[in-house]
C-alpha cells in the first residue's frame, strides 16, 4: 500500500478549471500507487471458469494480451451494441455539452478531465467512431475518432475503474445519458479478455461457492449472530433468537453479509433483530442465501445474475411468502432494477403484506421484495412502535442517501421519516448534496480496495465536504445511511476528512430507541456507548 498524502496535500493542486496542454488522446494514464486496483489473480478467474491474462499487473509495461485481443474486443463491442439499446444510443447522442462534467465526485476530487463523465464515455465512443464509422475514419481526431490500441485498453481499465457507477451524471444530462451504464458495459467487455480487479473478483468467488462475500461458512454465520445476541442480552436484558434456515417462515430476510460481522454493520443487524423480535415477526435468515450484496454486478451482467439466483431457490425451498431486504445500496439497485427481469415471475410467493399492519405493498406486488425502510416506516405510521428518541440524544444525525437507492430506486422519504421518529437531532446536509444529487462515498462498485486509497479519499471528498459543513455548523457527529458499503468505507473517509463523525445504519438508531416489552433500563446504546445522562452508570 502506498503512503496516503495528508488531506491538505491532496487538495493542494486541485483546480477544476485548468486543463492539460495536450489533447486527451495524447495523455496516457499513469498507474501511480493509490490510484488503481490490483489485477485479478488468475486462480480466481479459473475457479469461475472465466478467461484471464495470467499473472500481470496494470502497471506492467506490456500486458500479456492474447494475439486475437483486438478482434475479441471489437466483436464484444458489436455484440453489446446489439444487446443494449442504452449503450448504442448513449454512444450516438451525446452533444458534449458538458453539463455532466463537474457532477462526478471523481472529477471534483481529482481534477482529472478524463473523470468528467462525458470524457469517460468518449474513451469508448472514440473507438466506436474510429473503428466502425466511415466519417470517423475519414476525419479522425477532428470527429473524435481514434483506433483501438493497447494504450486504449489500459486507459479503459484505469478510468472505468475510476467510476463508481453512481449515476450522478445521469441526473443532469439533458438526454439522461448514464455513464454508469456505460461503465457497467465496459467492465463487462473487459471481462471478455479476463481483465478485472482482484478486490472485486474475490468476493464473487466466495459468494458463488460459499454464499457470501468474505466466505463465512454456515456455522460461522450462526456463531457470529449468537455473539451479537449475547451483546443484545447484555444491553437490553432480552433473550432473543434469530431463526436460521427455518422452513415455512413467512418472510425471508436477506441483508448484506457485512451486517453479520463487520463493524459498524453489526449494530444495524442488532437493530433489525430487535425490531423483528419486538413485533413477533415470523421470519428466517438463510445461511445459503447469506449475501444480499452482489459484486458480480461490478464485473459482468452474467456474474451478477449468477450470484443472486440462490435467493430464489431459497425462497422456494423455505416456502416463504415474500422477501424482506436489509439496508444496502447496490444490492437494492440490483434487486429493484434487475431481479424481476432475471428471475421472475415469482408466482410461488405472495404479494407482500405486512403481518402487523395489514398494509399490502402494492408497489412490490410483482417482485415480492420489500425494503426494510418501507416496512419499518409503515409500522411507525400505524403507531405499532414506541420509541424513546432521547436514547439517541448523544448523536446529532445527518442522512447520507446512497447513490444506488436514490438514483436507482427513488427511496428518499422512508429513511428520513424513520430517523425523525427515532432521533431528536436530525440535520440535513446542503440541498445540492443530498437526495438525487447525493454524492457517492467514493468507494462503491467494488472500488473499496486498500491499494486504491488515494482515489477513494479524492472521490469521497465532495461527500465528506458536505458532512464537514454540518459538522462545523450543527455539531453533527453521526451520519446514518442505508448501505453496507457505505458502512464499510465511510468511517475511513470520515477519519480522513472529518474526524469525529461516526457512521450508523438507520436500524441501529431504531434499535437504540425502540421501547420493548421486558427490557431492562438501558444505559448504553448498541455500541456500549453511554446514553446521555447515563455516563455515571457505565
Amino acid at each position: 500500500m502506498s503512503k496516503l498524502p495528508k488531506p491538505d496535500e491532496l487538495l493542494k493542486d486541485l483546480d477544476l478549471h485548468k486543463t492539460p496542454e495536450k489533447h486527451w488522446m495524447d495523455i496516457a494514464p499513469e498507474f501511480k500507487p493509490g490510484k488503481f486496483c490490483y489485477a485479478v489473480e488468475p486462480q480466481v478467474m479459473e475457479d469461475l471458469g472465466r478467461p484471464h491474462l495470467g499473472k500481470w499487473q496494470p502497471y506492467d509495461e506490456k500486458w500479456p494480451l492474447p494475439d486475437d485481443w483486438k478482434e475479441r474486443i471489437l466483436k464484444g463491442i458489436r455484440d453489446r451494441m446489439e444487446r443494449f439499446r442504452s449503450f448504442k444510443l448513449f454512444m450516438d447522442i451525446c452533444v458534449r455539452c458538458g453539463a455532466c462534467a463537474d457532477k462526478c465526485h471523481y472529477f471534483l476530487g481529482s481534477g482529472d478531465p478524463k473523470n468528467m463523465p462525458v470524457l469517460r464515455a468518449e474513451l469508448i465512443r472514440s473507438i466506436i467512431k474510429g473503428e466502425f464509422s466511415f466519417f470517423g475514419k475519414l476525419f479522425g481526431r477532428m470527429a473524435g475518432a481514434r483506433p483501438l490500441t493497447e494504450e486504449v485498453l489500459k486507459e479503459w481499465f484505469y478510468y472505468f475503474y475510476q467510476c463508481t457507477e453512481c449515476r450522478r451524471c445521469s441526473v443532469f444530462c439533458p438526454y439522461g445519458i448514464d455513464t454508469a451504464e456505460v461503465t457497467i458495459i465496459m467492465r463487462d467487455l473487459l471481462h471478455e479478455l479476463g481483465i478485472a480487479t482482484d478486490w472485486a473478483m474475490k468476493p464473487v468467488r466466495f459468494s458463488h461457492f460459499i454464499g457470501n462475500h468474505i466466505g463465512l461458512q454456515p456455522h460461522t454465520i450462526k456463531e457470529n449472530i449468537e455473539f451479537l445476541l449475547g451483546d443484545i442480552a447484555e444491553i437490553t436484558g432480552l433473550n432473543i433468537e434469530v431463526p436460521i434456515n427455518k422452513k415455512g417462515a413467512e418472510i425471508l430476510f436477506v441483508t448484506p453479509s457485512a451486517d453479520f460481522f463487520a463493524d459498524p454493520g453489526i449494530y444495524t443487524f442488532m437493530g433489525y433483530v430487535l425490531l423483528f423480535h419486538h413485533i413477533g415477526l415470523d421470519y428466517t435468515i438463510s445461511t445459503y442465501a447469506s449475501e444480499g450484496g452482489n459484486f458480480g454486478f461490478f464485473n459482468a451482467v452474467e456474474l451478477a445474475k449468477k450470484l443472486h439466483a440462490k435467493i430464489y431457490e431459497e425462497a422456494r425451498r423455505l416456502k416463504v411468502k415474500w422477501i424482506l431486504g436489509g439496508e444496502c445500496g447496490h444490492m437494492w439497485r440490483v434487486w429493484h432494477q434487475y431481479h424481476n427481469t432475471w428471475f421472475g415471475p415469482f408466482n410461488y410467493m405472495d404479494i407482500p403484506r405486512s403481518p402487523i399492519t395489514g398494509t399490502v405493498f402494492e408497489h412490490a406486488k410483482d417482485n415480492k421484495i420489500v425494503h426494510i425502510c418501507e416496512f419499518t416506516a409503515d409500522l411507525i405510521a400505524h403507531g405499532k412502535l414506541k420509541f424513546d428518541p432521547s436514547r439517541n440524544d448523544h448523536v446529532i444525525v445527518t442522512f447520507h442517501d446512497s447513490c444506488n437507492t436514490s438514483r436507482g430506486m427513488g427511496i428518499f422519504e422512508e429513511p428520513r421519516f424513520i430517523l425523525k421518529n427515532v432521533c431528536n437531532n436530525f440535520v440535513e446536509m446542503p440541498e445540492n448534496t443530498i437526495r438525487e444529487k447525493t454524492f457517492c462515498c467514493g468507494s462503491g462498485s467494488g472500488l473499496n480496495a486498500d491499494e486504491y486509497m488515494e482515489m477513494r479519499m479524492r472521490g469521497g471528498f465532495p461527500r465528506a465536504n458536505a458532512v464537514q459543513y454540518v459538522n462545523q455548523k450543527y455539531g453533527v457527529n453521526t451520519m446514518a445511511c442505508i448501505c453496507a458499503i457505505d458502512r464499510a468505507v465511510l468511517p475511513t473517509l470520515m477519519k480522513y476528512w472529518v474526524p469525529g463523525v461516526e457512521i450508523a445504519g438507520v436500524h441501529e438508531l431504531v434499535g437504540n430507541a425502540l421501547i420493548m416489552e421486558g427490557e431492562k433500563e438501558r444505559t448504553t446504546d448498541l455500541r456500549y456507548r453511554p446514553l446521555k445522562g447515563m455516563e455515571e452508570e457505565v
Partner: protein, 339 residues
C-alpha cells in the same frame, strides 16, 4: 485547431454553390437536385437511425430516479421524476423534450477556499432553449413558402414574431434570439476551459453551420432582398414534388442559404444532432420506475449456472450438522427428480 478546421469546412461548403452556380451555372442542380438529396438523406437517415436503435432491445428497466418512488400511500411521491405509470412517463418526457428539465437542474461546482460550493447554472439551459425554440419557430415560419394558401397558424406566428420587431430595418425577434443562443453556445465552447477541452471540430461545425444559415437568412431579409415570388415558386414546386425552375432570378446568396440548409439536413442523421430523435429513446428517462410492480422482459436473457442448495449443503453438511443448522435432503430429492 478544431475551430479552424470547422471554419475551413464551412468555407468549402460556401464555395461549392458559389462556384457551382456563380461560375458553372448549374442552377437547377443546386435549386432542385441538391435540396432533394439533402432532405432524402435527412428523412431516410433519421428513419434508419431510429430503426437501428429500436432493433437493439433495452434489456433492463433502468430509469434514473430523480425523485421519491411510489411506495406507501401516505408518502408524497414525485410523479415527474420517478414516474410509476405510462402517463407519468409521458409527462416526464414532455418536460424533458420541451423544457429541457434535466438541464434546468444544472449546477456549477467550485471551490470556495477548501469548501466545495454549488451555484445555480442556468445559462446553458437558457442558451439551449433560446436556440432550439427560435429554430423551431423559424422552421414553422418558413412553411409559408411551401404551402398555399398559408394556414392561419403560420401567419399568426409570423405576425407575432415580426410584431416585436427589433431595430430598423425590422428583423424578426426569433432571428435575433437564435443568434444570441447560438453565439452563447459557441462562446461557451471557446471560453469555458472544460467545455473547450472536450470539444471536437464536430462540435463547432454544426454551430457555425447554423449560425451561417441564420446569417444568410437575415442578410436576405435585410439587405439583399431576393425575388420572393421566385422563391415561393421554387419552394412550392419542391414541396409538391413538381419541381420547376422559377421564372424570376434567384440570388447567389439564396443559393448559398439553400445549399447550407441542404447540407445541414444531410449531416443531421449522421452526427450528434440525432439527439433530437434519440432523446425519445433514452431508457433512463422513458421508462417507468415500476420495476417491482411490473415485470420487464429481456429477450436475450438466458439461464445461468449457480451453486444450488444441494451442492452447497453437501459441501457444508458436517459443519451444519455440528452447529445444529437444519439439513434438507427432501429438497434435494425433489429437485433431482425434476431435473
Amino acid at each position: 485547431m478544431n475551430l479552424v478546421f470547422s471554419i475551413l469546412m464551412l468555407i468549402i461548403l460556401i464555395l461549392i454553390p458559389v462556384i457551382g452556380v456563380g461560375a458553372l451555372g448549374l442552377n437547377s442542380l443546386f435549386a432542385i437536385f441538391i435540396p432533394y438529396l439533402g432532405f432524402a438523406l435527412f428523412f431516410f437517415g433519421l428513419i434508419y437511425r431510429m430503426i437501428d436503435w429500436a432493433r437493439s432491445p433495452q434489456p433492463f428497466k433502468i430509469p434514473t430516479t430523480c425523485g421519491q418512488q411510489k411506495s406507501l400511500s401516505w408518502i408524497k411521491r414525485s410523479r415527474l421524476e420517478s414516474p410509476a405509470t405510462t402517463w407519468e412517463v409521458y409527462l416526464r418526457m414532455f418536460f424533458e423534450v420541451f423544457l429541457f428539465r434535466s438541464l434546468f437542474r444544472n449546477l456549477r461546482a467550485d471551490f470556495d477556499g477548501k469548501r466545495l460550493i454549488y451555484g445555480s447554472a442556468k445559462w446553458l439551459w437558457l442558451g439551449a432553449i433560446l436556440f432550439h425554440v427560435s429554430f423551431l419557430i423559424i422552421l414553422i415560419r418558413h412553411l409559408r413558402f411551401f404551402v398555399y394558401p398559408v394556414p392561419g397558424v403560420i401567419t399568426t406566428i409570423d405576425f407575432v414574431d415580426s410584431f416585436f420587431q427589433l431595430g430598423l430595418p425590422p428583423i424578426y425577434l426569433t432571428d435575433a434570439l437564435i443568434l444570441a443562443g447560438l453565439g452563447f453556445l459557441l462562446l461557451r465552447r471557446l471560453i469555458d476551459a472544460k467545455v473547450n477541452y472536450l470539444s471536437y471540430a464536430s462540435d463547432y461545425f454544426p454551430l457555425l453551420l447554423i449560425i451561417t444559415i441564420a446569417a444568410t437568412g437575415i442578410l436576405m431579409r435585410l439587405y439583399i432582398k431576393p425575388d420572393l415570388y421566385a422563391i415561393k415558386q421554387l419552394a412550392y414546386g419542391l414541396a409538391t414534388f413538381n419541381p420547376v425552375m422559377p421564372e424570376g432570378k434567384l440570388s447567389l446568396l439564396f443559393y448559398i442559404h439553400l445549399f447550407l440548409v441542404s447540407s445541414l439536413a444531410a449531416y443531421f442523421p449522421f452526427s450528434k444532432l440525432v439527439h433530437m430523435v434519440g432523446v425519445f429513446f433514452s431508457p433512463t428517462r422513458n421508462m417507468a420506475n415500476d420495476n417491482r410492480m411490473k415485470r420487464h422482459v429481456n429477450p436475450w436473457d438466458y439461464p445461468v449456472k449457480y451453486t444450488t442448495y444441494c451442492d452447497w449443503q453437501e459441501k457444508f453438511r458436517d459443519v451444519m450438522e455440528e452447529a445444529g443448522i437444519p439439513i434438507d435432503d427432501e429438497w434435494c430429492k425433489e429437485t433431482q427428480k425434476q431435473a
